[in-house]
Every structure is written in structure tokens, then in C-alpha cells.
Amino acid sequence: EAGVTQFPSHSVIEKGQTVTLRCDPISGHDNLYWYRRVMGKEIKFLLHFVKESKQDESGMPNNRFLAERTGGTYSTLKVQPAELEDSGVYFCASSRNRGLGQFFGPGTRLTVL
């Protein structure tokens, strides 16, 4: 069984630019989560999809962040326009059941200059 994959692994952009991160969950996992770890801080929840529906987006920092999961398969997280404080590692996770056994991808390291 293939794991959660994320693309790109690294992204370096300038302040004000747009970046789109992609996550492919494990096949058959209806639940998809986005998390972020800013350097030196804890991994923080951003949002949770069940299939194509946003179940909980309470962790999204502001309206510069837009997550989609069209068709209930892969998901994208767009940051527009990017700010310096958006730098960090963005993790995607998926699970078959309700929250238990969340499987994480390798993350996308985003650097905003």
C-alpha cells in the first residue's frame, strides 16, 4: 500500500507570490488532514476533509490559505499571497477511520523570503 505523498518536497518563494501544495492520500482514505509545523513550534492542525467536504477548518490561519479536495481524492493547499510567517513544513495526513491511525506524508518545506 502506497503511503501519503506530497509535492513538492521543498518550495522557496518570495513574499507576495503564490504557492500550491499537493497531497495524495492513501487510496481509500476518506479523511484527509493538513497540518503545519513552524520552526521550533508544535505541529498544528489546519483543516480536515471528509471526502470532498471540509469537515473542520478551524486551524486555517487566514483567508490567504485555500484548501480544496475536488472529487475527494487528492487535495491542494494554496497560499496567496505568501507572507514570511507562512514558512514551515506542511504535512498532509490521511485516515480510513475517524481520526485514528492518521498516516502522515513526508511534508513540504515552504520557505518564504
Partner: protein, 120 residues
């Protein structure tokens, strides 16, 4: 406000020793406590998890001890090996609760992580 506090921030242990990482939480609605292990360049991987109805869970060299009254839980790594060197995160999740979809509280709340180094 950090809901899950993890200590120490870093830990150095000799091969064969016991590694102990502690976590404390405030929210009594948490009902699932996983530990994740992360190697450089990889994502966090679920290591072991416990529910508050038991005080201890053991899987191989890894043991979670849980103290519900103190709202604390810890990870013990027995016979620590250099291959155990990684960052360890404790986490907690609330009971999903009710609602149309069975609730939405599936998000994990993490501690800040502990960088474990096991010297050969």
C-alpha cells in the same frame, strides 16, 4: 495556549539505556493519545497509542504510561538503540462527539517534540 506540553526538548541517552519523554495535557475531553516518531526528511509515523481507560500499553521496547488523574502520559523506550534516534511527538485527540457526521473533532493536538539521540 499550548494544550499539550512535552518535555524534555532534547534527550541524549546511551545505547541500552531507557529513554523517557513526558507529556501533560489540560483538556479532559482528550480521549486518545498517540505517539509519533519522525526521522529526518520523513513525516511523523504512528508509533504507539493509548486510550485513558488503561494505565499502560506496551509494544516491544516501547511503553506508554498514562496517569489520568494527573493528566500526564509518558513514552518509555527500553534498551534504547542508535536507530531510535529521531524526534518524538506526543499528541492528543478529543472524542469526536455527536453531530450529523459523528462529529468533527478528529484533529490531533501535538506537543512540541523531543529530539532523542542515542549514542552508540
Amino acid at each position: 495556549q499550548q494544550q499539550v506540553k512535552q518535555s524534555p526538548q532534547s534527550l541524549i541517552v546511551q545505547k541500552g539505556g531507557i529513554s523517557i519523554i513526558n507529556c501533560a495535557y489540560e483538556n479532559t475531553a482528550f480521549d486518545y493519545f498517540p505517539w509519533y516518531q519522525q526521522f529526518p526528511g520523513k513525516g511523523p509515523a504512528l508509533l504507539i497509542a493509548i486510550r485513558p481507560d488503561v494505565s499502560e500499553k506496551k509494544e516491544g521496547r516501547f511503553t506508554i504510561s498514562f496517569n489520568k488523574s494527573a493528566k500526564q502520559f509518558s513514552l518509555h523506550i527500553m534498551d534504547s538503540q542508535p536507530g531510535d534516534s529521531a524526534t518524538y511527538f506526543c499528541a492528543a485527540r478529543r472524542h469526536p462527539g455527536g453531530g450529523r457526521s459523528g462529529g468533527s473533532n478528529y484533529k490531533l493536538t501535538f506537543g512540541k517534540g523531543t529530539l532523542l539521540t542515542v549514542n552508540p
